[in-house]
Every structure is written in C-alpha cells, then in structure tokens.
C-alpha cells in the first residue's frame, strides 16, 4: 500500500494525497443516513492527466476509485463502499470558456455552482446557468452526473444532464475521451448529431469513468424577476394547476411545496411560479397569462395567489433556495437526507399522501415538494427528512422512512433519484432484465477491472 501512496504523491504532490485518519473519517461519510465507509486515500488531482494516471494506477492495483464533487449527494454515492481512493475533484475548478453567442460554457469538473454563478454575474451578466437548490459548493459535474435539476429546468430544457453540450471523461482504462461536438471540432456547442455517448457517464453514479470537463448550456439572464405563490387545499388539483401554468410557457421555474411548519401552511399546497422579463410591460403580460391560466380555480374561490411581501419574494427568488438548507438544520445535530423521485406530474397527489403516511408512521419531521422539469414532462418530487445524527433512534426512523419513500415512489410510477445502494437495487429489481443486462455489459466493457465506485448499480452485493 505504501507503493500506491508513494505513486499518488508522485502524481499529485504530497499536499494533495492524504491517508490521515481524520480526513479518511470525513471522506468516508456524507450528511445522510447511509453507513460510513473508509477510504484508503483521499486524492485531489489538478489536471486531466493526473486523473488519467491515478485511474491507471488504480486499475493496475485493483484499487476502487470514487469520484467526488461537492460531496453533497446525501445518499452515500461518494461513500467508498469498498475502500480505495476518493478522488476529490475540487482543485479542477477552472472556467475554461464562455461562448456568449452560442450560449455555452466549458468548465473543469470541480467547478462549483457558486463559482460559475458569480463568474457569469460578473463577466457575462446577460447569461446564467441553471442552479440546483444545493449549497453553492455543489459542483457542475457532480450535479449533471446525477441528473440534477435546477431553476431553469422547467423553462430551458429539463434535467441538467440534458443541458450538457459535451464531456471530457477519463475511462477506467485510462483513455481520455471527448464526447459531443468537442470530439470532432474544437467547439463544445452540442452533443448532436453524433452518437450520444455522454449518456454512458450520466446517471451512472461514477461507475463508468471520471468526468473531467463539462460543456453546459447557458441561458439569457433577465433583469426583472417576480414570483407568484398559488395556494390550494386540494392536492388532487395540483397536477392540473401545474399543467395549466406550464402550458402558458410564462414561468421560468415552477416548484411545489408542502410543509407542516409554519402551521399556517399545514394542509395547504403551494405552487411557486417564477417569472422573468425584460421590461415591466412584459412582466405584467406574463403575470396576467399565468393568473388567467388558473382562472376557474379563482372564480370558484378554491385556490388563489397569495399576496407576498417584498422580503418573502426576495427569499423565494434566490437561486439556490435557502429554505431547504435551513429546513435541513431544523432538528440540529447535522443530519439531513431526502428522497428525490423523478415521476410524472399526475403522481404528485399519490406521492404527497404516501409522504404524509410515511412521516406519521415513522414519527419524523418532513418537508415535501417538487420541481417541474421540462415543460411538465416530469417532476422531481422530494421527501426531505432532517434528523439529529446523535440520536440513533431518530436515525433509524429516517432510514425506514427513506426506504418506504423509495418503495412508494416506484409504486406510484416514479423512479428514485440519485438513490443509495438499497434504492438502486430496488430499481434494478423492477427494471427490464434486458436493460439490466445491457447496463452490466456496458459497465464490464468500460471498467473491466471493476474499480469505479464499486457497490453502485450492482444487482448483487
């Protein structure tokens, strides 16, 4: 093992390799409820070449490699289940290109959401990227790799993985590949019209290679922003409400949430519609069209738009949203996990009812909600459970709740998102066997030594 350590030091320098107990401890866990693992090394590469050499070294020695971005996935996807190297990508944080005319950027894999957001605001204020509701240290690459979504997912093309215009990846066998237009010309504008190989690295939980660069779509940034909050008390009405609002194509971001606290929100369902515009006149028109889309509900007094004070709007319009981070700390003790499920819009009432039942049965605090992805093609529905890590009984209750939520999501026709190993197995058990076989063949082909994040997307333990 000393040889491997020495070789890692030669590749990245002594300052960027660690096997110190406290660091192995920290890199062995995340904020969620999954049991910790224990890496053998933590390594922070600075270049694609260093990543390539590390992966080759790992392959030669049969050492697992777990790529890690912000480490905020919450479901243990960066917990090294079988030891090995945690490959912390945060040093690869350069923003390499912003193409103002073709609206894309190219970043290194460790570039954080916050860094790109600040960079664009300062240097290219007419452009923005879709920001997930994660802390700003979440990385661009980590988020696209897990099919993340964000504040432009409804209006600008779906999951963040769908906004990827190109990838640079290091294969488990050490080859460096460019995928998309950048494979053929020195431009990162599109994955089409070539065979779409980027899909081999998106949604695979780091089991097929290491993403080192990402091309991402950028979108116009508008000067005026407003938010409308539509309040209902009939969960069965929510899918139609969302469908009507989405169909106006006037909302930039559309999210839905329910929460038992504060008490004046308990039992109600809130749908937030973010609207952006270039001029006050355009804003008024967009607001009017959104409101008119749900006029029958207003006429029947069954639902309505809640007048919002300015300070509340400021909070609601922030990207990323702070409210979920604040909710994450509600139990204190540093524990938070949520089950995200990608599901059709019509599954929202069932998911809501299932969530209420699960929270009640397990005696846990909850928050539930959804973000519309694409033009209402799907939602990312979440059950969020904060917990006190020092309270083992509470930890266990949340584990049960998460498992039940995963099962409920599948039963409702949804698919658990970025789910932990147990959830992955639940999915694989219901997946078309031919699809499972194809996944296994592709993985075996790409990673013949089985070094990439082992334990994930595996049928058998």
């Amino acid at each position: 093992m000393n040889d491997i350590h020495d070789e890692l030091v030669r590749i990245v320098g002594a300052a960027y390799v660690s096997r110190a107990g406290e660091e192995l401890y920290l890199y062995g866990r995340d904020q969620g409820v999954q049991p910790p693992g224990r890496p053998d090394y933590v390594v922070l590469p600075a270049t694609t070449e260093e990543v390539r050499r590390i992966v080759l070294l790992a392959g030669e020695n049969g050492v697992p490699v777990v790529p890690m971005g912000g480490g905020l996935v919450l479901s243990g996807l960066t917990v090294p289940l079988k030891g090995g190297i945690v490959l912390d990508m945060k040093r690869m944080n350069r923003i390499l290109e912003v193409n103002e005319l073709s609206h894309y950027c190219v970043v290194e894999a460790g570039t954080t959401q916050g860094a790109l957001q600040a960079y664009l605001a300062r240097r290219h204020p007419a452009l923005k990227h879709s920001v997930p509701d994660a802390p700003p240290v979440a990385t661009i690459a980590g988020n696209v790799a897990i099919h993340g979504s964000g504040h432009l997912s409804q209006s600008e093309g779906g999951f963040h993985s769908e906004m990827v215009t190109g990838l640079e990846v290091v294969l488990p066998t050490g080859e460096v590949c460019r995928l998309g237009s950048c494979s053929t010309v020195d431009k990162w504008f599109s994955r089409a019209p070539l065979p779409d190989l980027a899909g081999l690295f998106l949604g695979w939980n780091g089991t097929t290679g290491v993403i080192t660069k990402v091309g991402m779509k950028l979108f116009p940034s508008f000067p005026l922003k407003d938010v409308l909050m539509f309040m209902t008390e009939d969960i069965d009405a929510v899918p139609e409400v969302i469908s009507r609002i989405v169909s106006t194509e006037m909302g930039e971001d559309i999210t839905f949430f329910v929460t038992p606290k504060p008490a004046y929100f308990d039992g109600f369902q809130m749908t937030n519609v973010h609207i952006v515009a270039r001029t006050p006149r355009e804003m008024k028109l967009r607001q009017a069209l959104v409101r008119e889309s749900v006029q029958p509900y207003l006429d029947r007094k069954e639902a309505g738009f809640l007048p919002l004070p300015a300070h509340m709007k400021v909070n609601l319009l922030a990207a990323p949203q702070k409210s979920l981070s604040e909710f994450a700390d509600i139990r204190k003790g540093g524990g938070f996990e949520y089950v995200g499920s990608i599901m059709p819009v019509e599954s929202i009432p069932g998911a809501y009812r299932a969530g209420l039942g699960i929270a009640a049965r397990n005696g846990v605090t909850y928050s539930m909600g959804a973000r519309v992805v694409g033009r209402g093609h799907a939602v990312m529905f979440y059950y969020a459970f904060p917990f006190n890590r020092a309270d083992e009984a509470e930890l266990q209750s949340v584990r049960h709740a998460l498992e039940a939520a995963n099962r409920a999501a599948l039963d409702l026709g949804g698919i658990p998102w970025k789910t932990e190993v147990a959830g992955q197995r639940m999915i694989l058990a219901r997946m078309d066997p031919a699809t499972v076989a194809l996944m296994e063949r592709l993985r075996a082909l790409l990673d013949p030594n089985g070094i990439m994040n082992p334990g994930n997307w595996e049928v058998a333990p």
Binding site: M231, E233, Q287, R291, L298, K301, A303, G304, F305
Partner: protein
C-alpha cells in the same frame, strides 16, 4: 355571541344610499343601489356582496353611522360568500391567530400598541417616542383585518380575549388606562367595531396621530421644519375614524410639511390594492396603484407618507420607482426632530 347593532329602519328610510352611491368601486344607478340596500336588509344574496372590495369607505359615507360595511360583512359570512379564496382565508386565520406566547411586561404611560407589526418596533424611539412602552403581537392583535375576509365571527371570537390580555398583562398591572393605537386598524376596532358589536373596551383608545400631535407640540422648540411636500396615503381603517384625518394636517403643519392637494385623498382616498390582490382582482389592484402613485406624483409631492404598514409594504416600491420617497408618518416626525 355579540350582535351587530344595526338599525334596519334607518337603512330602509335612507334617501341617499350614500354607502353604495359614493362607493368608488361599484357603479350602481340610484334604483339599483336601493335594490341592493333592500336585499341587504332582507339578508338576501345580492351583487354588492361579491362586488365589494372591502375598502371600509361606506362606514364613513353613511350619514347615519348605521354600519353598512359591517352589515355587508355580516351578510357575506351568513351567505357563505368568500371575498378571498378559501385556502388563503383559512391560512390567514391560522397565521394571525393568538399564539399564547404573551410575556407579561411592566408598562407605564404612554403605552403604544403596535398591533401585529413587530417589525415596526424600531419606529418607537428618540425624543418623540423613546419613553413609551410597547406592546405587540398575536395575543393583543385586534384581528380587524378579518373584515376583508367576511369573518366578523373571527373578530368576535378573538377580540374579547385580546382585550383581556391587554388589560391583564399590561394596563391593569401598570395602572394605565389609555392605549395609544399605532395602527388605525386598532383604533377603529376599539372606537367603532367594538361598540357596534357591543363589546366593552375598558381602556381609552388614543389615536397615534393624536398622540404624535401632542408630543410634537411639547417638542415644538426642537423641530426643524422639513420644508417638504408630501402625499398622504389614507388607509382603509381610517374610514372607521374619519375625524382623525385632520390630525395629519396638524402634524404636517408642525413639522413643516405640506399635504399636497390631490384627487385620491380624504374621502376619495384609494385602497392601496393589497387586499384587492388577495381577492384576486389583480387588474383593479394594479390600476389602483398606478392611479394612486400617478396622482401623488402629479400633486407635486416628493414623499409618500403612510401610517398603515400594510399600505407601505404594498405601495412603497412603486412610490420609490416613481421618484417618491416612501416614509412612515412616525419616521417623518423623527426626521423633523433630527432623530
């Protein structure tokens, strides 16, 4: 349960039907207005029950002080008419309900009631107000806002306890017998709504402007006249105590501010639009705001002065965009004292 002290015979004999004829938000012919009135008296469904924007103005317009607005609210509630969507109404009832978190505190005269606007505590400061005791919160909240929600019942249910809380936890132990009401809504509750519903008020309510006026008089030598022109946004609840509107002029005179002459002031004041938004009347709310701000601007004012925090929240941004500095009356007075 307390009943509205309203005399149907007075309404039936009314020749002018000013309550509806003067209303800025409905256009009824004299004949239609009489028909509306008659149906209101009989407790039947009628257009005004859904047309009403709940601006309170008919309470001021009625020459007989026969509480036409309170009657409209009674009828709306009896007939299950909801001016505001039901979920918003329910949520507001929960949000504004007493939390039972009252902390008894020693008070001394003067005691200023900040209603349920804890964010306004900063206004009670300086030479003008710094010596005042402040009470605020859900457990002393007048609840009059539920007039906008067709819920006299909520006010009936909560107000007696609020009054008991004020007395038991503050005024009685402090040996205080008067309460300065910062918000017109509270003053209107204690001087208009409570008597109309037969609820006893065991303290003397003092309008904030009355109090300010006296304080400014005492500090006259320290005032530096501001030399400004200001438009005043008269809030809906001032319709319950129209006699207090004159104090705005008295205060302005003392601090060297000219209340600009404009179309939408005094009896013709416009609603800030906040409640209209809750009622989902978005175009009306917007047009009200635009007309109101344009009128302030055209009057030559450089400031838009508010006493109602809700009006301030609703209109301040638009006023500022139009080049009018939005300011609360209390802050304007502090400015004149250099505090």
């Amino acid at each position: 349960m307390t009943e509205l002290r309203w005399n149907p015979d007075i309404c039936a004999a009314c020749e002018t039907v000013d309550c509806l004829e003067k209303c800025q938000y409905v256009r009824y012919s004299p004949e239609q207005a009489r028909g509306e009135r008659d149906r209101l008296i009989r407790g039947e469904e009628t257009a005004i029950l859904t047309d009403c924007v709940t601006c309170y103005a008919c309470e001021e317009y009625c020459p007989h002080h026969n509480h036409p607005f309170y009657l409209i609210v009674e009828r709306q509630e009896e007939l299950g008419i909801h001016p505001v969507p039901k979920p918003i109404e329910k949520s507001q009832v929960l949000m504004m309900g007493p939390k039972g978190r009252i902390v008894p505190e020693a008070v001394r005269t003067p005691v200023i009631n900040l209603c349920y606007f804890p964010m306004m505590k900063g206004a009670i400061r300086g030479r003008l107000l710094g010596d005042a005791s402040v009470i605020v919160g859900s457990d002393i909240f007048c609840n009059l806002m539920f007039l906008h929600f067709a819920r006299n019942s909520t006010i009936r249910e909560r107000l007696p306890q609020m009054i008991r809380n004020i007395m038991t936890h503050y005024l009685t132990p402090g040996g205080v017998d008067e309460l300065v009401c910062y918000h017109d809504e509270c003053y209107g509750t204690y001087t208009s709504w409570a008597p109309a519903f037969g609820i006893d008020v065991p303290f003397r309510p003092v309008h904030f402007f009355d109090f300010l006026n006296r304080r400014l008089e005492a500090l006259a030598g320290q005032i530096k006249p501001l030399g400004l022109k200001a438009a005043y946004q008269r809030p809906c609840s001032n319709r319950l105590c129209p006699e207090t509107d004159a104090w705005v002029d008295a205060i302005f005179e003392k601090i060297g501010v000219e209340r600009t002459e404009r179309e939408f002031d005094h009896g013709n004041a416009l609603c800030c639009g906040g409640v209209m938004e809750a009622q989902q009347r978005f175009e009306l709310a917007e047009s009200n705001r635009e007309r109101n701000i344009a009128d302030m601007k055209a009057s030559g004012a450089t400031m838009a002065v508010f006493n109602c925090p809700f009006c301030f929240f609703t209109l301040a941004e638009k006023a500022a965009q139009a080049g009018l500095m939005p300011v609360m009356m209390s802050d304007l007075c502090h400015m004149a004292l250099g505090d």
